[in-house]
């Protein structure tokens, strides 16, 4: 284990009493509690941590925050591996394992670095100009895909869990730096409901990396006392390790809380990450700023670092990131770095400053004995795997070499405007500050502190107060005294001087991660990719995992220079959420596995489970598909046997099926019959109390939508059933009709699908069974005729019995309150046992309805008309109804429309499968004329002893007796089928009516 050579003996936020072991690539190291992986690596003098995307250039740690473009690692191992993780945001934990990525065979010796040697051949967009001829793109793509990508991901199931939280507040403060803390304080004191989210593990923002004082004490005292006060407020929620990553409509902010990423594993029952959806009445964005660099030759050498980051490593982590440093800055903040580094024992070569001025900060530096090279620039960095020195070009153009192992660069600060743009606002260029400021954020969001370009600690704090106060005013919170403005020590600053690039030979990187250089931008411009959006897409500027946080502004400034336009004419690309990448897991929360969507179970579900049912999804419902008996297993032969048994026994004796999933709507009111008349194609005014009727509903465009029965239970009381799939949509349409289309109709509609458990008893013995099951009810054909309805009891349970049939058998549907469903079902099973009543599932039901020629989902496919389905005679000509006007269009009445037929294999045994296409000539070569298709098919009709099918066929029943071919080229099947009527069994309905 190596010593932490670069760690200072005191200072910083790290806990020297809690050492932590960690591993990077193949070496073990030690860091301290409070470190990030980056600070711990730097403490151990590890400078080379990654390779760049395209040229595999050696890269080091460049920043100290989420903007990091270079130091991306594969964190953790196995199923927990996280590629592309920024070393600068990983909190160190004991036992942490990380590896460098995108290199082979090792970080120091990376074969991919040949790309660097041939980089001249690989300018932006080279791949658009090559790989077109032999052997074709697919060949090259294979290698390019492998070479691209960054870290290695995994598709192994994730051992960790995720969850979500919804929240509401008056004021959401984003960012826990001085501006954010002071905003939260004012909001909290006013009694407002406040949420403060901070991306890092602690509050203080930049102050954590500074030596500044507040009220003559180290700033952390102010942070601590502010936090203590906030902590004590009931309606203030402080969220650490929480990134507000997106602003959405309705002033809703989505935030990601990393609850356990700082631990080796999440504790039991604790989610790894949590997605917060925060509905805020007002937002105060205090997200600070992000420093930018300057494009000069070889500016990517490990050891070139943002000036503010170098300061942060020193002040917060007590790490000297260099021994001999040069500072290159076009603004005064760089002087702060120089002074801090010097105070931290780092030897400072010089401050290289392109500006010619003599401000307070310069005097301070010079007083501290630091040379200032005014009017000078750094023109090149040296050292392949680590910086050894820089070339400095002075105002006269003379170059000199300064040996340095650290170059602290500051090209100025960009306000962190990301979240101000998600709803479409564009940031606004400010020439004086040489940066983009937030654009129009609307009245619901205010921006505070350096996020809106303010400089200076005191200014940021008072701005936090002011922005919060303004937000509270909007919300009508009474004015209260603002906290005192604390005393800070802030020398006067001289203005920044824009400097984007330093001319020179060599690679001058703008976007480190995607290896976009000044020359690429020039090339894109030359080739006409001049819109900033084209520039981005052609060069991939800002498209890496950091989304160009440090690069974008430089890139478009360079483009502006190339085009000779002011920067605001070039504009920015679009800022899109998320601010930093967010896992799938967090968006999904607990909606995984069986909880991906809620499950809906019928009242008899437990019985089905106990009795061998295999289930099938029907929307959210689970329905028994068939029942296997002891000794049978889920293999095709057993399944077929079970299904055949269920059909045979139902048709031979009696069966019972759970039909609880059908939509059920209770309709009451004097205008119900009128409503039904308008909804269904057939007439409803004559339906008697105690009777049911089959109805067909169209969509407004004239195509069949849904079918079902509706019964009249009382003078003004009806009970409608719908298909399982359309239960919701039909209910909604009725509500739409009653509230919007025909508000004068007095009908109350209630979905009662859930209240009623429903079961159908079918088969020749069903009447006998029913008689035994019900309490003293006359179920004779006279008392309860076909389509009759009776309310009665069954073993003391109130029930509604409907004599309707889907199977074509004598059949009854029994509805009981769902809480009594299982008892009723068991009662039927017990009482019916002597008669051989057995349960059947959806497969057997499907076969029986095909035998009977009843249409279902595959025929009601949204493209058919009543006539197509052989139901044309149901269409009433005496009244208007939903869909009638569009039903008469030529396309819906064409005589060559396919219509419903039955199909049987000519050889009596081949199975025409559903999905087969009907054609005339089995030998035809593509493109083949199609006559229709097989909609539903029964592998065997146990009653006819051969396969049967329904189909939609051009010419329909006019072709009865002809043969056509059911083509299934996907399985090389071609079956000759004879066209028959769609009703294979009991065409006169003797069974049903009997």
């Amino acid at each position: 284990m190596s010593a932490q050579d670069r760690r200072l003996p005191q200072g910083g936020e790290v806990d020297r009493s809690t050492p932590m072991r960690f591993r990077f690539d193949d070496r073990d190291y030690q860091g301290l509690a409070g470190d990030t992986l980056a600070s711990a690596l730097l403490a151990n003098d590890v400078r080379l941590v990654g390779r760049s995307f395209k040229y595999h250039r050696p890269r080091g740690i460049f920043s100290a925050g989420p903007e990091e473009p270079n130091a991306l690692v594969e964190l953790r191992t196995g199923a927990r591996i996280e590629p592309n993780t920024r070393a600068t945001t990983i909190e160190l934990y004991d036992g942490l394992e990380a590896a460098s990525q995108h290199r082979w065979p090792s970080l120091r010796w990376d074969v991919g670095e040949v790309n660097n040697l041939v980089s001249d051949f690989l300018p932006a967009g080279f791949y658009y100009k090559t790989f077109m001829g032999w052997p074709g793109w697919m060949f090259w793509e294979h290698f390019i895909r492998k070479a691209a990508g960054m870290g290695r991901g995994t598709l192994d199931p994730d051992p960790d869990s995720y969850d979500k939280m919804n929240a509401h507040c008056d004021v959401l403060v984003i960012g826990g730096g001085p501006a954010g803390l002071s905003a939260a304080l004012v909001a909290g004191r006013s009694g407002a409901r406040v949420i403060l989210v901070e991306e890092t593990d602690g509050f203080g923002g930049r102050l954590r990396g500074e030596r500044e004082t507040i009220d003559d004490k180290p700033a952390r005292h102010w942070v601590a006392s502010t936090l203590a006060e906030l902590d004590g407020m009931g309606d203030v929620t402080l969220l650490r390790r929480t990134t507000a990553f997106g602003r959405y409509d309705g002033n809703v902010v989505a935030a990601l809380e990393r609850r356990a990423d700082h631990l080796a594993e999440p504790p039991e029952h604790i989610s790894r990450q949590r997605l917060w959806t925060i509905r805020a009445r007002r937002i105060v964005l205090a997200a600070g700023g992000i420093e930018r660099h300057i494009a000069f030759a070889d500016n990517d050498r490990p050891g070139v670092m943002l000036a503010g980051a170098a300061r942060t490593y020193l002040n917060r982590f007590a790490v000297q990131v260099g021994k001999i440093a040069t500072v290159f800055a076009n603004n005064d903040d760089g002087y702060r770095t120089a002074l801090d580094l010097a105070a931290g024992g780092v030897e400072i070569n010089a401050i290289v400053d392109p500006r010619e001025h003599g401000g307070t900060w310069r005097q301070k530096a010079e007083t501290a004995g630091i040379d200032v090279f005014a009017g000078a620039v750094v023109s090149r960095a040296h050292g392949r795997l680590g910086l050894v020195g820089v070339d400095v070009r002075d105002a006269s153009g003379k170059n000199r070499f300064l040996a340095s192992d650290l170059l602290a660069v500051s090209g100025g600060w960009n306000p962190n405007v990301h979240l101000t743009c998600h709803l479409g606002a564009k940031p606004v260029w400010d020439n004086a500050l040489a940066t983009f400021l937030p654009g129009d954020t609307g009245p619901d969001m205010r921006v505070a502190g350096s996020a809106r370009g303010l400089a200076g600690l005191g200014t940021c704090i008072t701005d936090g107060y002011a922005q919060a106060r303004a937000a509270l005013d909007d919300l009508g919170y009474s004015k209260s005294a603002l906290p005192d403005v604390p005393v800070t020590d802030e020398p006067q600053e001289e203005p920044v001087q824009a400097l984007w690039q330093v001319p020179g030979k060599g690679m001058r990187f703008v976007d480190y991660q995607d290896d976009v250089k000044v020359s690429d931008i020039a090339l894109a411009n030359r080739e006409g990719y001049q819109s900033v959006e084209h520039l981005k897409r052609y060069t991939t500027l800002g498209m890496g995992t950091d989304q160009g946080k440090t690069a974008n502004v430089i890139g478009l400034a360079v483009l502006a220079e190339e085009r000779g336009l002011p920067i605001d004419k070039v504009g920015t690309t679009t800022f899109r959420p998320p601010y930093t990448p967010v896992t799938f897991g967090a968006f999904v929360g607990r909606e995984t596995g069986l909880h991906y969507q809620p499950l809906r179970r019928s009242a008899m579900h437990d019985w089905h489970v106990a009795n061998g049912a295999t289930f099938v999804n029907a929307g959210h419902w689970l329905r028994p598909q068939y029942y296997l008996r002891d000794g049978e297993s889920d293999v095709k032969a057993d399944i077929d046997r079970a299904i055949t048994r269920e059909v045979t026994e139902t048709r031979g004796g009696g069966g019972i099926v759970d039909v609880s999933t059908l939509g059920k709507i209770d309709l009451q009111g004097p205008d119900t019959a009128e409503l039904l008349n308008r909804l269904y194609i057939n007439g409803w005014k004559t339906l008697a109390v105690g009777k049911a009727r089959y109805g067909l509903m169209l969509r407004e465009d004239g195509h069949v939508w849904d079918d079902g029965t509706t019964s009249r239970l009382g003078e003004n009381h009806y009970f409608m059933t719908t298909t399982t799939a359309n239960a919701g949509p039909v209910m909604s349409h009725i509500e739409y009709a009653l509230q919007v289309l025909w508000p004068d109709l007095d009908v109350k509609a209630v979905s009662v699908t859930e209240h009623w458990a429903a079961m159908a008893i079918a088969g020749p013995k069903s009447r006998e069974a029913l008689a035994a099951v019900l309490d003293d009810v006359d179920v004779s054909n006279d008392a309860l005729p076909f389509m009759g309805v009776v309310e009665c009891t069954l073993a003391g349970i109130p029930a509604r019995v409907f004599r309707i049939s889907f199977s074509g058998e004598l059949a009854y549907e029994i509805n009981v309150a769902a809480d009594c469903g299982e008892a009723a079902w068991e009662h039927v099973m017990r009482t019916g046992a002597p008669l051989g009543i057995l349960p059947y599932g959806t497969e057997a039901m499907g076969i029986m309805r095909i035998e009977k020629g009843h249409v279902a989902g595959p025929e009601l496919d949204g493209r058919t008309t009543p006539a197509d389905l052989g139901l044309g005679r149901m269409v009433s000509s005496k009244k208007p109804f939903l869909g009638a006007p569009m039903l008469t269009r030529e396309g819906l009445t064409d005589t060559d429309r396919p219509s419903l037929v039955g199909l049987v294999p000519v050889d009596g045994k081949s199975r025409p499968r559903a999905g087969a296409v009907l054609i005339a000539d089995p030998k035809a070569v593509p493109p083949v004329d199609k006559l229709g298709h097989v909609t539903s098919s029964a592998y065997l009709s146990p009653n006819l002893d051969h396969p049967i099918a329904l189909g939609l066929l051009e010419g329909g029943m006019a072709r009865e007796g002809e043969t056509v071919w059911a083509a299934f080229p996907l399985r090389d099947e071609m079956i000759e089928v004879r066209v028959t009527g769609p009703v294979f069994l009991d065409p006169d309905g003797e069974r049903m009516h009997g």
């Binding site: 598709l155 999905g915 996907l970």
Partner: protein, 418 residues
């Protein structure tokens, strides 16, 4: 010449890439053009390209309000396939796929058309029957399709959820091996360069704001860069179609809806084909750069905002993870939206219009990227000849009135549902 090739790339290396020419010119608009295409997306550019290449129509301009490819062409999930069932458009999409297969060479621009296969998963017998019908129709039309059972799917893509806790178990799938993806931006740029080389004026930052008409003719187009006279006019403005037609008093069977798309951080190859979930809308593939590109359903409300909202994002991710549980730790890098021209039967409209010299190309819903070359090819034919080519003859505007719908999903006149 500015032909692209490896050799030229090497040659240009020596001169520091200083001699590459503009991929397309930046001309000032002329006083008038014989044909004006409005919309510089893939469809508009392809139309101009094929007009110039295959037809003699005189001068051609493409007017684009922003930057080329900045509409849906630049923001889609890039899936290319021709797995359609209904006669009204199956042959059209297949023609388009055939054009894709030669597009890079035809344009001398690598559009990275990658025929990695498109696999749709099925989660019920009924869905598999539907796939069968689609696949059989395709095969009978001479289009490639394969029906896979659960085990075959598993062998191809083992990381799908084959566990007992899959909420919607996988029954099988339908595969179109020739389907795949293409580099969307390159399509726009390659077509622009191709059209430009054939003399088409591509005019960016030129928004069409109005029309001058005489009788039943458009005589001139008003733009932010002045008025431009026109012979024939073609609209290819996707989600903005009704913005233009309303200026001509034409009401359209179209609503504009938002569809979102997502890309993850780049990773080494994980997912080798295009896979779609059958229990809910979700599709995923991996870009050549390494990002997983994914999308799902609409946000289900009319929108021109090019962005969507959280509930849909959460649905999309949940569907993705239901399909591939191991996506859990992958991170979404960026998400955005596009404005879809949702038609009333889910199929496009390419053809003539009630205005004599106006031609319409719209209603692509979220499937128009795959149609890009085919659309340009038939639209060019339609404009040049004043009547449709046989393969787009059924994609007319009047089919709604006549009831000759091409409703692949059977969803009816609910544009948000297609």
């Amino acid at each position: 010449m500015s032909e692209y090739s490896v050799l030229r790339l090497i040659a240009n290396t020596i001169t520091g890439h200083a001699n590459w020419r503009r991929a397309w010119r930046d001309p000032e608009p002329r006083k008038s053009y014989d044909v004006i295409i409005v919309g510089g997306g893939g469809h508009g550019l392809a139309t101009a390209f094929y007009l110039a290449k295959n037809h003699r129509v005189g001068s051609i301009a493409v007017l684009e309000k922003g930057w080329l490819g900045g509409g849906n062409t630049g923001r889609n999930t890039t899936i290319v396939r021709s797995n359609y069932m209904l006669e009204g458009h199956a042959h059209f999409y297949e023609k388009s796929l055939q054009l894709w297969e030669q597009l890079s060479r035809e344009l001398n621009y690598n559009v990275m058309f990658s025929q990695r296969g498109v696999l749709n998963l099925g989660h019920s017998d009924a869905q598999m029957d539907g796939f069968a019908r689609r696949g059989n129709s395709m095969r009978l039309n001479g289009i490639d399709a394969e029906l896979l059972d659960r085990d075959q799917v598993r062998r191809r893509i083992p990381y799908l959820d084959f566990s007992d806790s899959a909420r919607f178990p996988i029954y099988g799938g339908i595969l179109q091996p020739r389907g795949g993806t293409a580099r969307h931006d390159a399509v726009a740029w390659g077509l622009a360069r191709g059209a430009d080389r054939l003399g088409v004026d591509i005019i960016q930052n030129c928004e069409v704001t109005g029309f001058k008409t005489q009788g039943n003719q458009i005589t001139a187009i008003e733009t932010t860069r002045g008025e431009i006279g026109c012979g024939k006019v073609g609209f290819a403005v996707a989600g903005n179609t009704t913005q233009l037609t309303s200026k001509l008093g034409l009401k359209m069977p179209i609503e504009s809806h938002v569809l979102q798309a997502f890309v993850t951080e780049p990773v080494k190859p994980l997912i080798d084909s295009v896979v779609t979930f059958g229990a809910s809308h979700f599709y995923i593939s991996q870009s050549d750069k390494g990002g997983l590109v994914l999308g799902g359903d609409l946000d289900f409300y009319n929108s021109y905002a090019q962005r969507g909202n959280m509930p849909t994002i959460e649905h999309v991710m949940a569907a993705g993870q239901a399909m591939i549980p191991g996506l859990s730790r992958m991170r979404i890098l960026r998400h955005w939206g596009g404005v879809m021209d949702m038609s009333m039967d889910g199929s496009p409209i390419i053809g003539t219009s009630p205005i004599d010299n106006l031609y319409l190309n719209c209603g692509w819903c979220y499937g128009g990227f795959k149609a890009t070359p085919g659309s340009g090819w038939v639209f060019a034919h339609t404009i040049a000849n004043g009547e449709p080519h046989p393969i787009n003859a059924k994609l007319t505007l009047d089919r709604f009135e006549r009831g000759k719908l091409i409703d692949e999903g059977g969803k009816g006149p609910f544009p948000g549902h297609h």
